[in-house]
Symmetry: C2
Subunit: 137 residues, 2 copies
């Protein structure tokens, strides 16, 4: 669950430079495929493998973030009332929180932007109770 920096140094590559530039130039949150098709014009035989490898490296370097829920596969929840989640960085568990829903958050969005927020989800990240108890690894 933790991330090791890496032993050997990274070499530069035109492809990686451009992926980062392109990602910085947009407000959207592109998918690998979007980047691929944009860059295809400059690098006619760019491959998806290269895009993914570089995205991984950039993320490892902290230059970009991969957004998602942390998990590769779908998870399902029968608790349909609105609640927040805690995701343990150590064991990966997803835990329901008792925390009261803060409806003022939607209001803040609606006051400070032109978007109309109906609801929201929060995921907290950290160390869950049982991992904290059995100390650091």
């Amino acid at each position: 669950m933790a991330k090791e920096p890496r032993a050997t140094p990274y070499r530069r590559s035109r492809q990686r430079d451009r992926i980062l530039e392109l990602l910085r130039s947009t407000e959207t949150h592109p998918t690998a495929n979007w980047l691929y098709s944009k860059l295809r014009k400059e690098f006619p035989d760019l491959s998806m493998g290269t895009v993914y490898r570089n995205l991984g490296i950039l993320a490892e370097q902290g230059l970009i973030k991969r957004i998602g829920f942390g998990s590769t596969f779908d998870r399902f929840d029968a608790n349909t009332k609105h609640h927040y989640h805690f995701i343990c960085e150590s064991c990966g568990a997803i835990i329901d929180l008792e925390l009261a829903i803060d409806n003022s958050l939607n209001d803040r969005v609606n006051r400070t932007s032109k978007h109309k927020a109906h609801t929201h989800d929060i995921q907290f990240q950290g160390i869950c109770e049982s991992c904290a108890t059995r100390k650091k690894t």
Copy 2:
């Protein structure tokens, strides 16, 4: 992006009933595969197809929720400073919000539970500015 209820009525099935029961009986947020292996004992020739189909139906009925970021594929963000996201229910756009980070949220988790939260993410859902402007579809 919207979800149509469905024309024809659903029929009951023992498999679907048990999937829902099982999901309700646990605090964890199971994956399809976890449900599959549990139910395999009762339905020796259960198939993954059935599990997925039923999870889809239950979610459509609002009896369960699929947790994730709304998107099937990874998205990448070059904006590495902490910020919240707005996801448009109409067009699917993911938009960065200017909203100030509320660090008291972590404190609330740390006070009300035994988990140690370092950080959190929020995704608001609703209708984005440009979809709101060009009215309902």
